[in-house]
Symmetry: C2
Subunit: 407 residues, 2 copies
C-alpha cells in the first residue's frame, strides 16, 4: 500500500506544483495587459482576456485550459457576483421610485427582445419551445445587464453624477441588474426540455422564498455577530460561506444558476454594518487571484482559428443591436416620463455600457452547452465598443446640451 | 463537435459547482472549530485540523479529499511560507549578532539529530544512504522549525518581550527558520537515490545563487514600482507572481521544495517599503480561503482507523524528544554563552513551540512519499502540547525567577 500510495501521491505533487507556473503566468499577464488596456482607455477586463489569448493555445501556448483553471474561474465568477450583490444599496433602491424602475424594466425588455430577434433573423428559429428559440432568448439575456461603472466615472468627471440624470441612471442600473438576474433565471430554467414555464416559475419562486428565509435568518445572525465582533475575520468568512452555500443550493436543487445564488447572498448582506468590510476582503481575493483567472480563462478558451465571416457579421450586428436596444428601451420610456429628448438620450446612452456580468452570463451559457465559445467574440466586442464610445458620446451630449432641471 | 463539446462542458460545470459545497463546508467548519480551539487555549490550526477529521471520511464523510482540495491546499502552503518570508526583518536580523545565531544553529542541530536518532532507535535503520536513514533525517527535519508566535504572545503579556531574553528568542527563531529551510532543502535533495551529497549541495548553491540574482533584480524593480505607485494593486500581484515563479523553478529545475522558493521570495521582498502591504493582502487570501483548506485537508487525509499502538507510543516519544531537544539545544548553548541557568532555561522553553511550518514540512514529506499520513498525529500532538505548555512554563519560570539583566 505504501508503494502505491507513494506513487499516486508523487503524481499529485507534480500536478500541484505545475499549477504554480500557470498561476504565475496568468496573474502577471492579466495585470500587465490590464494596465496596457487601461492606458489605451479600454476596460481592463478586455486586456485580461487578450492576455489569455496571448498566453493560451491560440498564440504562445504557455498555459492550456484545465480543470483547475475552470474551477478557480468559477470561484472568481461567484466572488464577482457576490461583490455586486454586496454593493447594492437597498435603502437607496427604496428611494429611487417608479421612474427608475420603469426605465430599468424597458432597459431589460427591449435588449432581451432585440437580441432574440437578431438571433432568429440571423440563424432562423423553429418557434417557441424549440432549442433555437431558447438559444435566441439566451442571446437576448446576455444583452440585458448594464455595467454602470464607466458611465459613473464619466459623469463624475463631468460633475453630473449628482444631477437628476446621473441619479436616475444609477438607480435604474441597480434595478436593471436585479431584473436581469431574474430573467436569466427563467431563461436558464427552461433549458431542461422537461421543464414547462409553469415548473420554471414554481422553482424560481420556491428558490426566492428559500432565499428570503435564508436572508431573514442570516441577516439577524450577522447583525448580532457584527455588533459583538465588528471587523473580525469571522465576518467575511461566514459571509463567504453563506455565498457558497446559496450558490450551490440554487444550482443543485433548483436548477438556478449558481451566480444568481451568489448575487442574492450579496443582497442579503448588503445592509449589515460590515457589508463594506466583507466586500473589501472578498474583492482582494477576487482581484489578486480568482477574477484574473476567470477573464484570462475566457481568452484561453476562445479559439479564433475557427472564426467565420458569419460570426464576424453577427458580432457587429450584436453590438449594434445591444447598444441601440438600450438607447431605445431606456430613452423612449424616459421621454414618455417627461424627460426632455436630450435628457432621455443621455439616460439611454448612459445605460449602454456592458461589462463583467455579460461575460459571466455568456460563460454560464457556454458551460451549460447552450452556446459555443465563438459568441465570446461578440460580447468582448460589445464591452470594448460600449466602454469606449459611451464616455465620448456623453461628453458630446453634455457639451452640446448642458444639463437642465427636468420634471 | 458541438454535441461533444456541450456534453464535456456540462460535466465540467457539475464539478465546478460541487466545489462550492466543499468550500463552504471547509471554510465554515474551519472557522468554527478554530474559534472553539482558541476558547480552549489550543492553537486555532489544531481546531482546523480537527474540523477536517469531523467533516472528512473519518467521521461525517461530508467532504472527501480531491485533486482540487490538494491544489488549493498547495497554494495555501505557498502563501503561508511567502508570508513568513515577508515578515522576516532582515535589518533586525543583521543587528542580532552572534549569540542568536549560535543558539539558532544548535536549536536546529539538536532536534534534527534527536528526531533522527528517535526514528533509528524506534524502527531501526540501515546506515547512511539507506531509505530508512533518509526517513530518519526527515523526521528530524520536522522537529527543527520553531513557531515563535505563541512565545511572543506570552512574553508580551508578561511585559518581557523587550528584555534581553525576549529579543534573543525572537532573533534566534528567525534565523532558526532560515537554517531549518536550508536543512530541509538538503534532506529533500537526497531523496533521489541518484543524487549524492555533492550534487545536492551543488543544486542548492546553484538555486541560492539564482535566487540571489532574482532577488537583486526584483528588489530593484519593486523599489521603483513602489516609489512610483505605492499601495496599488500591482504591487501585491507582482509579488505573488514572483513567489509562484520562484516556487515553481525551485521544485522543477533544482529539486528543491516549492515552499523554500516561496519563503525566499518573501525574504527578497521583506525590505521593500510595501512589504507589509503585500503581506496583508496575501494574508487575506490565505486566511479566508487557502490556509483553512490546507489545515482542514490534513484532517481529511488523516485516518485514525489504521492507527496502531506503535504509532501512539512513537508520537508520545516524538513530542518528548522534540521539546527536550529544543530546550537542550538552545538552553545548553545559551548557558555556554554566559546566560544564567534560569535565563538559559527560559530561552530553551521559549524556542520549544512548533506550528504551521512543522505541518507544512510533514505534508511535503507525505506528498513526496517519504512518510505516510500517520505521522501527522505526532506533529499535531507536538503543536498542541508545546503551545499549551510553553505559556504555562514561561509564566512559572518568570514568577519564580524574575528577569535579571544578563551579560
Amino acid at each position: 500500500m505504501n508503494g502505491m500510495g507513494g506513487r499516486s501521491k508523487r503524481k499529485e505533487t507534480m500536478e500541484t506544483y505545475i499549477i504554480l507556473r500557470d498561476l504565475a503566468i496568468i496573474i502577471l499577464a492579466a495585470k500587465f495587459m490590464g494596465l496596457v488596456a487601461k492606458k489605451c482607455r479600454i476596460p481592463a477586463v478586455a486586456g485580461e482576456i487578450v492576455a489569455g489569448l496571448i498566453i493560451g493555445p491560440c498564440l504562445l501556448g504557455w498555459v492550456a485550459p484545465s480543470d483547475f483553471i475552470n474551477q478557480m474561474a468559477e470561484i472568481g465568477v461567484i466572488l464577482i457576483m457576490f461583490s455586486a450583490g454586496l454593493e447594492t444599496n437597498l435603502k437607496e433602491l427604496k428611494k429611487t421610485g417608479i421612474k427608475a424602475l420603469v426605465i430599468a424594466c424597458f432597459g431589460v425588455a427591449v435588449p432581451l427582445a432585440g437580441g432574440a430577434l437578431l438571433y432568429a433573423l440571423f440563424y432562423g428559429t423553429e418557434g417557441p419551445g424549440s432549442e433555437s428559440f431558447f438559444k435566441a432568448l439566451f442571446i437576448g439575456s446576455i444583452m440585458t445587464a448594464t455595467s454602470v461603472s464607466i458611465t459613473v466615472e464619466s459623469l463624475k468627471e463631468m460633475g453630473h453624477l449628482q444631477g437628476t440624470i446621473g441619479q436616475t441612471i444609477l438607480s435604474a442600473a441597480i434595478i436593471d441588474d436585479v431584473i436581469g438576474i431574474i430573467v436569466l433565471t427563467f431563461v436558464l430554467g427552461m433549458k431542461d426540455p422537461a421543464n414547462n414555464p409553469g415548473i420554471v416559475i414554481l422553482k424560481t419562486v420556491a428558490f426566492l422564498v428559500l432565499a428570503l428565509l435564508f436572508g431573514i435568518v442570516f441577516y439577524q445572525i450577522f447583525k448580532k455577530i457584527d455588533a459583538r465582533y465588528p471587523h473580525t475575520r469571522r465576518i467575511p468568512i461566514i459571509g463567504l460561506g453563506l455565498c457558497f452555500i446559496l450558490s450551490y443550493i440554487a444550482e443543485k436543487y433548483f436548477g438556478i444558476a449558481d451566480i444568481t445564488g451568489a448575487y442574492i447572498a450579496g443582497i442579503i448582506l448588503c445592509n449589515i454594518r460590515d457589508a463594506g468590510y466583507i466586500d473589501r476582503k472578498v474583492n482582494i481575493n477576487s482581484y489578486m487571484i480568482f477574477a484574473p483567472i476567470f477573464f484570462v480563462g475566457i481568452g484561453l478558451k476562445t479559439d479564433f482559428s475557427h472564426i467565420v465571416v458569419d460570426m464576424i457579421l453577427f458580432s457587429v450586428l450584436f453590438v449594434l443591436v445591444a447598444c441601440l436596444a438600450k438607447i431605445i428601451g431606456c430613452g423612449v420610456v424616459s421621454k414618455c416620463m417627461k424627460f426632455s429628448w436630450t435628457d432621455s438620450l443621455k439616460i439611454g446612452v448612459g445605460m449602454m455600457t456592458r461589462g463583467e456580468v455579460a461575460l459571466i452570463i455568456t460563460n454560464k451559457g457556454m458551460n451549460l452547452g447552450i452556446i459555443d465559445s465563438s459568441y465570446f467574440t461578440a460580447v468582448i466586442l460589445l464591452i470594448i465598443v460600449s466602454s469606449i464610445s459611451v464616455p465620448i458620446i456623453l461628453k458630446l451630449l453634455y457639451s452640446k446640451f448642458p444639463d437642465k432641471k427636468t420634471a
